[in-house]
Assembly symmetry: C2
Amino acid sequence: MATPIDPTAVAFLLAENRSMPMHVGGLQLFTKPEGAGRGYAREMYEAMSGVEDIAPLFLKHPHRSVRTGGQLVWKPDEQFDIEHHVRHNALPEPGRVRELLDLCGRLHSTRLAWERPLWEAHLIEGLRDGRVAMYTKTHHALVDGVSAMRLLASVLSTDPDERDMPPPWGVLPQRPRPEEHDDEDGDDGGRFAGVPVSALRAALGITAEAAGMPGALVKTLRKGLRNETSSLSLYAPRTLFNQSITGSRRFAAQDWPIERLRAIGKATGTTINDVVLAMCAGALRAYLIDHDALPDAPLVAMVPVGLNAKQSHIASTEGGNALGAVMVQLATDQADPARRLGAVHRSMKDGKEALSSMTPVQILAMSALGQAPAILTPMLKMQGILRPPYNVIISNVPGPRTTHYWNGARLEGTYPLSIPINGMALNITCTSYDGSMAFGLTGCRRTVPHLQRLLTHLDHELQALERAALG
Amino acid sequence: MATPIDPTAVAFLLAENRSMPMHVGGLQLFTKPEGAGRGYAREMYEAMSGVEDIAPLFLKHPHRSVRTGGQLVWKPDEQFDIEHHVRHNALPEPGRVRELLDLCGRLHSTRLAWERPLWEAHLIEGLRDGRVAMYTKTHHALVDGVSAMRLLASVLSTDPDERDMPPPWGVLPQRPRPEEHDDEDGDDGGRFAGVPVSALRAALGITAEAAGMPGALVKTLRKGLRNETSSLSLYAPRTLFNQSITGSRRFAAQDWPIERLRAIGKATGTTINDVVLAMCAGALRAYLIDHDALPDAPLVAMVPVGLNAKQSHIASTEGGNALGAVMVQLATDQADPARRLGAVHRSMKDGKEALSSMTPVQILAMSALGQAPAILTPMLKMQGILRPPYNVIISNVPGPRTTHYWNGARLEGTYPLSIPINGMALNITCTSYDGSMAFGLTGCRRTVPHLQRLLTHLDHELQALERAALG
């Protein structure tokens, strides 16, 4: 009962190695319902592991043998063991968020074995404030960050009294898609949420083509990266983030009220997404100064954005929107926070305009570069493009806007863990939820030392932007 | 800097698959030193993970490539990451021994990835009685149960005030071998402890030869198993333990005062090892009756024993003793505990006498069968020997006789986790330490349901033997 694996998933499976596990992760924090006892985390674990029907996505594993002609196929796991995939963990003393992030970093460092379905979920108790955490890990061949977020959202409810809700790997009753998952300020980023998983897949399909090296695509990509007059052509300096990585991961996460970001945006005529990027820019600058490693030239971030309806005719067979990527100058050479925000805003605007004037193939090439750099980078090297096309990936995935619950447990926050790759040792992914903007920083533990200090820098930068914008 | 892998280790690596992880485990329970604070487990973890010099055994991983001509070699891990190998865990509420055994079963179920050195150690806090646990997992290609026990013993001290002691994976200062590791009653089992690892390896070397199927050896083995007049030839019935297994593990463990076993032995003229086997016999009988699955014919256990000096001339190049295997009738068809003990005693005695009359090649064949059934069983099948040669493996590995400490933490107990294989879904390994006999039961979670009930049966059987022997 083997089924074919789509070419993109194959590419993600084959790109993986010990230094580059190809799974995305998510950390969720829940508050117990009122009246829940000490054993609540266990009850939650039992509800999650006791589910009868598992969605087929979570039952298959990659398989390759002589009988499949050496081709990778999906095979149902005939010894499927839910206790392997859903686990009950606890934090060591003193049970601070620090211990939780340490555990997530460790869990995120280990590859998923191909001999079993490519996912794990860990219910974690022992936070001293009594909250319960869940860390999930899913191979990029199954989902990407956006669809993982949607999967989670699809099992949550706004009703604290709803019960008998399945976990994300359970078989879901069909529900209408809630409208509210759109981004707060109607930024392009918001369109991510409207993209069905299958359309994302279609958009990503290009990466497999690219891995097969169709000459025209490669040429377009080279032209785009080298054309001095295009805003796609940026000079990205080498930084400590742009090295080979190991398989060790560190994870840092924190959230801030979106209201604070919105106030800055309003006062300066910028978007919330611009403020997110400016926070990252300032934090990266401070971090690199700490390490005496700030390059003269400004850092460049690759920022995935949604494409509007006019642009999207190229990508989707299901009416969804496609993804594009914008290269944003982070102005890390500027000492002044307000100037950095202004520069980021202009660079983002230029990039989007450039996108809108690009041909469909150019957009697809950028999209491929944004979504699957691990696959494309070796190809670029073979084509003589050795400089990193950008320094860091910063993405912003919108989540539910209002408070959500899982069987009465209130979701307090949700934090994404992403995929550092060779040459791109740090990934910053943000998710908005219930009035907060969460930053999830995933880095190679060896290449990016003291990753958690970036959180302090992010906080300082937000304060500095407030002082600059609001006086 | 690749180094060759000895043929036995290669055989263990190649025999491994998802259903049959080939690692041995150990669970140790420690009591904190007086005055230790809440953070003691963390201090212990930091001492264990902070070690500067790691023994080479723990730094190499198997590697195979075109450059090695497709041969497996050991390669030093150039990205060695101690935080991957030494981990700090905690138990969920309520932190009973049950939660600890669950965690060990789960950790024991997952294969060690070849891309890293083949070991893990987990320091586990959160036992409600305040003890700290350590679970270690080491591939059989690196150590066997006996050498793992010796490795642990080698870093412990009888002095509660000794400090700055390295963990088992640290580089050890050379010390004289303590004499006291011999078995309590001078039983043959005791000789295990005197066998240097390299001699064990030499004895095990035969398995690789066997895998290569030298005709003479196979013939000897077949003759031994079929010869009606030899005590080696036993009829082992099919039981629920003798099925294909999955990769899920359950672990159960408990210890009893050796004094109780010794009293029974004294009163009945049997050895402590006989009493261990009789406890297992009675427990297996009760367990199989519970499942309405007791066969008419008595079960047969494969029991590894040491060989005395006269027999050992064949095995060791370093003057150590070799291992042999005795097939012991467990008399599970007998309802009376005293009769079972008597029958086990006679069967063990016969088996040892038979061993002493065997030729060196016969002994080696038995030894290979005992040590590497996973490797030999397919070979036996190819030779038309389809019946399981025995139903269960019961081994008894002596440990230190007196109280030992690691940097002031008192070792309370040590429990072995072993390797179930296809056709042999349950493994019972016992270790003696500080006046207690610990039983470690490792089984396939699906094939051996309610494994933990065997502990209750063991306890009942010990009481029944006491009533029978002591009145």
